[in-house]
Symmetry: C2
Amino acid sequence: MQLEFLGTGAGVPGKFRNVSSTALKLLDECNSVWLFDVGEGTQQQILRSNLKPRKINKIFITHLHGDHIFGLPGLLSSRSFQGGNTPLTIYGPKGIKDFVQISLRVSQTKLSYRINYAEIDSTGLIYQDDKFSVYTEKLDHQIECFGYRVVESDHPGELLVDKLMADNVPSGPIYGKLKDGLTVELEDGRVINGKDYLGSAQKGRIVAVFGDTRANDNSYKLAKNADALVHESTFSKDEAKLARNYYHSTCVQAAQLAQKAEVGKLLLTHISARYTGNMAKRLENQARKIFNNTKVVKDFDVVDIPFNKK
Amino acid sequence: MQLEFLGTGAGVPGKFRNVSSTALKLLDECNSVWLFDVGEGTQQQILRSNLKPRKINKIFITHLHGDHIFGLPGLLSSRSFQGGNTPLTIYGPKGIKDFVQISLRVSQTKLSYRINYAEIDSTGLIYQDDKFSVYTEKLDHQIECFGYRVVESDHPGELLVDKLMADNVPSGPIYGKLKDGLTVELEDGRVINGKDYLGSAQKGRIVAVFGDTRANDNSYKLAKNADALVHESTFSKDEAKLARNYYHSTCVQAAQLAQKAEVGKLLLTHISARYTGNMAKRLENQARKIFNNTKVVKDFDVVDIPFNKK
Ligand SMILES: [Zn+2]
Ligand SMILES: [Zn+2]
């Protein structure tokens, strides 16, 4: 599980930061890539990464501002052109379906795969399979805007085959039952409990990816105990008033949330073009005074989300 | 007058060629830039050029395929963000207005300038001022597709002030009449003809910029005697059948048109990602056998269109 940052700028593309897009790489977990927002030029950024468009099977849109969606029609077209033929689901605010469908219709684009549209009409759990659950909450931006919380299911402990063999438990279909933690009776009359032959379970990881937002109460629900929190940082410490007026956050507000929600690491993105080079470092330093494990990400940064050792 | 190529690829962006966009720089002529097609990522290409978005006041769309229009909403938004406040006119096939308006509405983008939409309902002259006329004709592509011919007005000869002074013609309002080539009577009774006091007129330049097309009959009308012809070259010499099936041209078909229409130079664009490096050179060489003054353009190439010395 890795995050790859495809666009870390705010509002308009700059020379060094493209507009918003963040990839959650779930290659080991389910051979998929999930995208959060698709600003214009995302497909060109992907060309410069080693992501494969056909592996993208979920796209989560935080809000409909142009810097977060104008790359969507082009990405969808290229995914088809490059041989993608498996369905793709787009989650996002009401309106995203119209935008995509009209763009594809006007351009007479015929896709080689099906798009499922999942416009968000209620918050909470919006997706679940055996490996992942995704939750959403409303944030506080000029227009309807969502944050997403991806929760990996806990990994059950591995079956300790060496221990079974040492105890002369013959292999066979009962290994499946033991792996599920059940109690079984062996042919020699012994009764053993699967739980005694399982390694320790591995807690699933949690990643929260936010759209543009002011500091607000829903943020905590989404961010709580996340291994990684991807948060906007459009303004610096001293610009809280500007941030409020423009419905954005300061780096310090993001750090305060990270601290309160006890996240693993804070990844600051949506960096204004005013903050070039060392000035972006300053945002990082301001945030670190409050939450030390903070990083201002750049385009093409890849951040690993390891299992929690605790 | 210069052409700057912002995207010279075909269909989907590649690592070295972005999707279609061509700028006609009329900075000396009228302090304007006109864009032909706006594929996704055009605004990012402009960032890497020295073009100013606010100077773009006309955009000509050849057809509605995604690789020619998906960059339009983002470019329009950024032009506003970067202080553009003068009106802009978009010419193109029916449907372009819907696409732009819906994209701007969904994203709640408010522009600081007015857009005039000039959807093409009849071919021929579509724009004229004292310096330029623009003509359009239908080409032959899968969907409605236009080519554009920009004709600069002839520059009248300069008034030869030295010669007037040598002939003791006193300066004053009559200089205006003489400059217009009129006959005037001087106070001393002499009658002189303005035409005798004008330098030689300078023929205006002609630039033709085509959309995607098969070889077709309208092309000649648009290309005739152009100083520069910008033409697609999606396929190579031996792929005429593929070109026909996909509604495109080979490099040789473009060269045949250039020769027949007696253009000044042929600029080949819309180059497939299959033709990398030296293979693109091969397209050029194949075309040069028929029309020598041919160039396969690359992204960011700038081509000067000088006055014709003849
Ligand atoms: Zn934004
Ligand atoms: Zn094309």
